[in-house]
Amino acid sequence: MADIDITTEALEHGHDHHDDHHDHESDKYRSSFISHYIFSLDHKMIAKQYLITGIFWAIIGGLMSLVFRLQLGFPEENFSWLKPILGKWITVNGEGMGSLDPEFYYALVTMHGTIMVFFVLTAGLSGTFSNLLIPLQIGARDMASGLLNMISYWLFFLSGVVMFASLFLNTGPFSGGWTAYPPLSALPQAMSGSKAGMTLWTISLVIFVASVLLGGINYITTVINLRTKGMSFWRMPLTVWAFLVTAVLGLLSFPVLVSAFVLMIFDRSLQTSFYLSEIFINGQALDHVGGSPILYQHLFWFLGHPEVYIIIVPGFGMVSEIISVNSRKPIFGYKAMVLSILAIAFLAFIVWAHHMFMSGVNPFLTNFFVIFTLIIAVPSAVKVFNWIATLYKGNIRFTNGMLFAVGFVSLFISGGLTGIWLGNSALDIQLHDTYFVVAHFHIVMGVAAFFGMFAGIYHWFPRMFGRFMNSTLGKVHFWGTMIGSYMIFWPMHYTGLAGVPRRYYRFDNFDSFAQFASLNEFITIAAILTFAVQLLFVINFFYSIFRGKKQTELNPWNATTLEWTAPIHAGHGNWPGPIPQVHRWAYDYSKGDRDFIPQTEPLNDWELEEEHNH
């Protein structure tokens, strides 16, 4: 806190004054390359670091999915051309037919899931936007602790390094699925990836959790303590609400994941039996007795379910904000939006066993989890209705951010509705661990969260870099991704409804699952094209950082929120002058005869009068 006060004081002096004190302050604000770009304490820079690291991981994770999709779409094809990249993981037979090693197929699937869920859609998403927007939108000069914030990023980086290193292990990276169920993950003899790969996977994720916790504590503290004068909770933009709730979810659930991993490490290295019992493997009966693999699943999903909301809730916030700004209308039912996020977050902690309906837990207990799970559909529906109602009678500008926000709502509807199928345990008997689940969670979480992220990037790109992304390329990117993702994931409902299990290396071993060969080709081709469209985004992103159209107005989208009151190239501390004060909520669009009224503007007489009359 003291740190912040000094900063505040220093920056509240005007610009000239600032220069006078240059010497005296230079030790603190000396901006060498290293302190500015690498070990930066500035939340805006840390946000960019998260974002660019996230983009890096998204490309890696995406490429991985293309490789395993090639296997699924073209199992008879010769892949020896991949040999130069994948080396021994492509096995070439006598006739020169190269095929993807099943071990590596599973490693790719596992890494893809882990990378996307944790590195891209958790760190890359809330790391970026919580950092960028919390201080700027609540009127704070930085996070409560810039140091913890920096450490949080570098722990994330480190966990990435460890995970990346595991890709080059001789025994391969971990390959037991992103959920890492024991005994498969606990026994090095069960799968090659469960050897050193699993060790590094666990280490990486423990470091990752430390990063999430440091980040989360910071976000929560900042929101609670550093709101500017007038910024009461009920005046916060929905983005800030969303980031706050996300951080709370992470803080309460990630430690449980660590506990699951600690027991796992004990079982792996100290011969304890938390998860293991009566196992005979590789010609040997192990000594472990009395453990339960189901215990791990409880611990994992106690994180795992809140985790899916950690991924989607930032999207909720950003999409609400972007839809409201670009419809030139207040978000419909602001209070309902806040309450529904809170309700979803609360319920997220008591539904975890819906991932375990067919895991051998007591079927009677399942009843409660079905009830809680399906209750989540209610606040989710409220959110959707409110987004749609916000469009109603708006005056909509289709910026790229807005397009992705609309796409987000469409995807959230499509994927949320299949949640109602899966949450009903009776239907889950048929659907569990089939492609229907893959379709569900990719649409509702994977693609939707990516859409939230894209919306945020296009919308706040000027805030980050002082330039705009190219809007034509952005439109191509949007339509390509919208159409492409539906083409990839929609058909998976059908294969799932036909009973095709997920995590299969080939489908032709079963008559029941072999009939979709051409559909699988189609999906693979759609995936390749959709990935190519993402490269457009990457090009646009990096090109625009340096050469994009320059931002000339302070507030390019005519938004009410505080982030657009800071200078285009704001330094550390955000506002050179005093921190702006807030007099109203964030959604006064098209009120009276005004297009928008910034949060910083005191209530006008006519507004006071109106309020009085109500």
């Binding site: 196992i279 929609w490 699952f513 457009l536």
Partner: protein, 386 residues
């Protein structure tokens, strides 16, 4: 080489992309940004309903196209009692969620189009509407209540164990399936209808993959068949176990799915309703089954002739997870009885009288002890075994 080509293609694409973008920007600055932006906005707005129509049409058309292959709505009727209930619940759910899907997607894209920017128009300042919000909170709540109640009743009956007073062999039969990397090991209780005891420490790959404890007589008539064979219309309780890692006992056509867990046996109770032969007959009348089994070989048998129920694994268990297939045959009661008669118990064919015969060695030990004490064998069963 290919790498280089890919790289070159990517660079080329990048250049083209950037150029397209630039040209558009240039165009915009020439023609006046606002005008171009307005035009673009109009065009994008128009894409909304176009996308909506294509999207919804694509959804319906593809669903209709693939429906014959789906479990509940396809050519194959469901083959178990509880499965029929699941299917009808699924149809209800499809209708309910389908309606919501259509209404919300239409509203979303239609509003996006209808309320797209027009110069001079002002958006309405509508911040909330309590009545509307209560209504659209209440409706999903009520609908969910119905789905939950319906779902739980199906669930609780589908998952119920056999009644406590049920007699094995009479009211139901019990079989066992054990997952291992990467195969299913099946066990049938034989004529006594009782599965013999097991101990994982007794497993040996040579002649006792399940670790059956031969000192327990119930196991002596246990059969280790290569396929599952079950009588139609008889309740079957599958005892599900695993030897090494998690597996999942999955019978798609019977809507059966349950994890197999080392150390913690699970079960699933179901009643098959359609024999394999009947199913082939039904399928012989369906167009999507009247095609060659092997699409590349027009001479091969028809798909329906080759139909078999299958057992699969539905929990990732390692590199061979995708290959754990077993055939499931549903037959009439008479055929089933004949089948059981024809099988030889594993103990009889592989164990009895060999070194592995712990029953015999234990009996001998006991014998010796008893001889020492009383000098007369008393247990009749001993002579039976010898």
């Amino acid at each position: 080489m290919i790498l280089l080509l890919v790289l070159a293609a990517m660079i080329l694409m990048a250049v083209v992309a950037v150029q397209i973008g630039k040209v558009n920007e240039l165009f915009a600055s020439l023609r006046g940004e606002e005008k171009v932006e307005l035009q673009q906005n109009r065009r994008t707005a128009l894409y909304m309903p176009i996308f909506l129509v294509l999207f919804l049409f694509g959804c319906v058309a593809s669903a209709v196209y693939y429906a014959p292959e789906m479990l509940g709505w396809g050519a194959k009727p469901v083959a178990s009692v509880h499965g029929a209930e699941i299917d009808s619940l699924m149809t209800t759910t499809l209708i309910v969620t389908g309606i919501v899907f259509f209404l919300t997607q239409i509203a979303l894209f239609w509003f996006a189009y209808k309320y797209s920017y027009k110069p001079g128009r002002k958006a309405a300042y509508i911040s909330h509407d309590n009545r509307l919000e209560v209504i659209w909170t209440a409706i999903p709540a009520v609908v969910m209540t119905f789905l939950v109640v319906g779902g739980l009743s199906v669930w609780n009956s589908a998952m119920s164990d056999v009644p406590e007073d049920a007699v094995v062999g009479q009211d139901y039969i019990e079989i066992e399936a054990t997952g291992m990397q990467f195969a299913w090991l099946l066990r049938h209780p034989g004529k006594d209808n009782i599965l013999g005891k097991r101990d994982y420490k007794l497993i040996n790959e040579a002649n006792n993959q399940l670790g059956i404890d031969w000192t327990n007589k119930a196991g002596h008539d246990d059969i280790l068949p290569s396929d599952i064979v079950l009588p139609v219309n008889k309740k079957v309780r599958v005892r599900i176990t695993a030897r090494d890692v998690l597996h999942n006992f999955y019978l798609p056509d019977f809507r059966v799915k349950m994890d197999a867990i080392p150390g913690i046996p699970t079960y699933f109770v179901f009643t098959p309703t359609v024999t394999t032969k009947e199913m082939r007959k039904i399928l012989s009348e369906k167009p999507n089954w009247q095609v060659p089994y092997d699409p590349t070989d027009p001479e091969s048998k028809m798909r329906w002739e080759e139909f078999n129920y299958e057992l699969a694994c539905a929990e990732l268990c390692g590199t061979g997870h995708w290959s754990m297939r077993k055939k499931v045959e549903i037959v009439t009661q008479e055929e089933y009885d004949a089948w059981v008669d024809a099988q030889q118990a594993h103990y009889i064919s592989q164990i009895k009288g060999t070194e592995s015969d712990t029953y015999l060695s234990k009996a001998k030990e006991d014998d010796n002890k008893q001889l020492g004490e009383e000098a007369i064998p008393t247990d009749n069963s001993l002579s039976e075994v010898k």
